[in-house]
């Protein structure tokens, strides 16, 4: 059985990802200190706000440990905010650094005439997944975008590079198809 190191930003609701991982047969270790950062794959969940998450990770000393783990080729998967944190910086909190595991930035969705946050189910390559976000990632290297979705503009929904994966939607909240997708993401990198 593979173990997932689930990173805690102190913003609540790790339980739903944990439940989904449990259903898929993964063991979970919650990461609150650098010493917890052991497991076959590191998962950055999709809860919270950029600024508060960056601060909490830094205060707990996890930021540096995450960066070095990624540099050493450790598999990393990010969901929603967790995907965004893989990048260098975000318009949500200018002046705070992301993990910089992937090169690029995070900016507010450009959806003229449409409401934000973008909330609800949208198709990604034909399968509906649940989205809840106002920001999207803009990778420096467009070839890391594996799939897109649309809300006013086309934005990256799935990012893949080496053993790094990220999804803008919430597979753990997207019914059965979401669970399969989460399983595939983890299987691809482990």
């Amino acid at each position: 059985m593979s173990t997932v190191a689930l990173v805690d930003y102190g913003a609540g609701n790790l339980g739903n990802v944990e439940r989904a991982l449990g259903r898929l047969g993964f063991a979970v270790r919650r990461v609150r200190t650098p010493r917890d950062l052991r497991g076959d794959v590191i998962l950055l969940p999709g809860v919270g706000a950029w600024g508060a998450a960056v601060r909490t990770l830094a205060e707990r000393g996890v930021t540096a440990a995450l960066r070095s783990a990624a540099r050493e080729g450790h598999p990393v998967v990010g969901i929603c905010l967790g995907l965004q944190l893989l990048f260098d910086r975000s318009e949500e909190s200018p002046g705070t650094d992301g993990l910089g595991i992937l090169a690029g930035c995070v900016r507010r969705l450009r959806a003229p005439g449409l409401v934000l946050p973008h909330l609800g189910w949208a198709p990604v390559a034909g399968t509906p997944y649940y989205f809840a976000h106002s920001y999207c990632v803009v990778p420096d290297d467009p070839s890391v975008v594996a799939a897109t979705a649309e809300w006013g503009e086309v934005f990256p929904a799935v990012v893949a590079h080496g053993v790094v994966r990220g999804v803008q939607f919430h597979p753990e909240r997207s019914g059965e198809p979401g669970l399969y997708r989460l399983n595939d993401l983890l299987a691809e990198v482990t």
Binding site: A11, L81, L119, W121, P128, G175
Partner: protein
Amino acid sequence: MSWPRILVCLDVAGGRVVKGTRFTDLKDQGDTVALASRYAEQGADELLFLDIEASVPVDGARATRLDWVHRVADELSIPFAVGGGVRSWEDALALLEAGADRVGIGSAATRDVGVLTSIAERAGAQAVILSLDALHIAPAACVATRRGGRDVTGHDALDLARRAVDAGAGEILLNVIDADGTRAGFDVAYTRQVADAVTVPVVASGGAGNPAHFLRVLTEGRANAALGAGLFHDGSHTVCQVKDYLISHGLEVRPC
């Protein structure tokens, strides 16, 4: 593009789903987890649980609530929100940690919209819903109320909605008290007024009686989502029937 959402609202008291007329004459409707699963299977896009006892301070009530939120989260793999008695970041965090994806804030926001900011800064705007119970004082004007319409505040509902969005709310759940429980249709005109006034999604609530009501409020009313309760609980309609109706009338939704 995301589809308009169909939500089901479940009023919860003592860990069980209840239904009453304007918060009185409560009747037991069944087990919270079983009903939640049923609506998820019917194709509901999201569920909203309203803890109607939460505004009444009872010893142990909070622990009871966290227990059923946990049990719902164990069962569901679609998103759900919990509202009722959320007054602080600590209240919100307890619900989020128990498994709620989003929280609804009502009465506390009519006293100080700052509570929305304190939650949004940590959990993100997408997790913060202003639960706005609006009561008409004129054909085109509503006031915000507390405790499900029992206490009228001095706030214009439209003005409160705008201030809530500025403070960090990521969605407005607009429940028009005058229509609530009537099953005569949503207040389409007022929903449109609110939707035109804010930049975040609006969930229309109050008055759902048949699939045509959903179509109207999601098109003419410009709501991004619409919520039903009684018409689903009494078995007269399923979520899937509503969705099939919408699709057959040219409005795309997530297929059930």
